[in-house]
Symmetry: C2
Subunit: 187 residues, 2 copies
């Protein structure tokens, strides 16, 4: 077979799972070939290097995450309700036994010390997500207030993503969020 027997996006999705769970350094090319079904040669033919592959997987994850935010916002009656829905879904995710937090956060932590460009990318994407929340909150609140609320929201989301690793944390987290972000229940 000389024609591609795979699709770039399918490969990326499988590779996202691997990198997301194990991180960059702990994911070997051997594991990548097993997870995707592609031989090393094909991997390097399609994606220049392990780093480039990771970069692309991370970018796909980021754009999917951002898309998911917009979608959830569109499906709810108002901004605060949308944010509450997003937070609820985050908590739901943390119940899974194979919970592995947020790919962007993990990448940021793993690769920060190396001054790696992947770190910068992850960091920028997280900053971008904050900006998106700021824009949505600007629909209801003043610009200053929206910025402040978005920063609070990001801090709490970061907190949840780490707290979620604790056993049986879901119930506690819900109450914690309500206490930390009382303005979410306005209206």
């Amino acid at each position: 077979m000389a024609k591609k027997n795979y699709q770039r996006e399918d490969v990326l999705d499988k590779v996202i799972t691997l990198f997301w769970q194990q991180g960059y350094a702990a994911s070997s090319v051997q594991q990548i070939t097993k997870a995707t079904g592609l031989k090393p040669g094909s991997i390097y033919h399609e994606f220049e290097s392990k780093e480039k592959l990771f970069q692309e997987a991370l970018a796909r994850y980021a754009s999917s995450s951002i898309g998911s935010i917009h979608q959830k916002m569109a499906n709810t009656s108002n901004v605060n309700e949308g944010i509450k829905q997003i937070l609820t879904d985050l908590i739901e995710q943390s119940k899974a036994c194979d919970y592995c937090g947020c790919f962007l956060i993990k990448t940021q932590l793993e690769l920060a010390s190396q001054g790696n460009s992947l770190y910068k990318f992850a960091s920028e994407q997280l900053a971008n997500i904050e900006k998106i929340y700021t824009q949505y909150l600007s629909l209801t609140y003043s610009e200053v207030q929206a910025k402040a609320y978005a920063a609070q929201l990001m801090t709490v989301i970061f907190g949840i993503r780490i707290y979620g690793y604790q056993a049986d944390s879901a119930n506690t987290i819900i109450q914690t969020i309500n206490a930390l972000l009382p303005w979410l229940n306005e209206h």
Copy 2:
């Protein structure tokens, strides 16, 4: 020289820096020998394996962190003031150009997927820290309230630890904390 020309704790301190910055997988034995000045043979003579060495380094970091909490609490007039001091110090740390967050959190994220025992240890230590905060808060508040506040505090601390990676985040974080944890300014 046939007598030890190093001290266990000095080696651990140097190794903590390395593992803390780079994580477990990305830190090679070669780097460990360079950072400590010990040859591979000595490392394995003193510490059974890379994993055992990491374990011990992480334990030392954890007990040092906990000690630091108690110390700061002892040096301030009341519990809330102590917590504010701890948070202020966290923010100060995040200004450093080689900021690398919290070793326990990083370990938890890196090693969670492997069901590694190091992950459990890190997770337990973080839970332990929450318990410590709960005890301190119980001096001022009811047991229920103290538990709730401690959970909020941990969530915010986790949030700060991640948010701290964003460029120039220190000023924003201070305002965010004041908004998220208004009860810190009681009295």
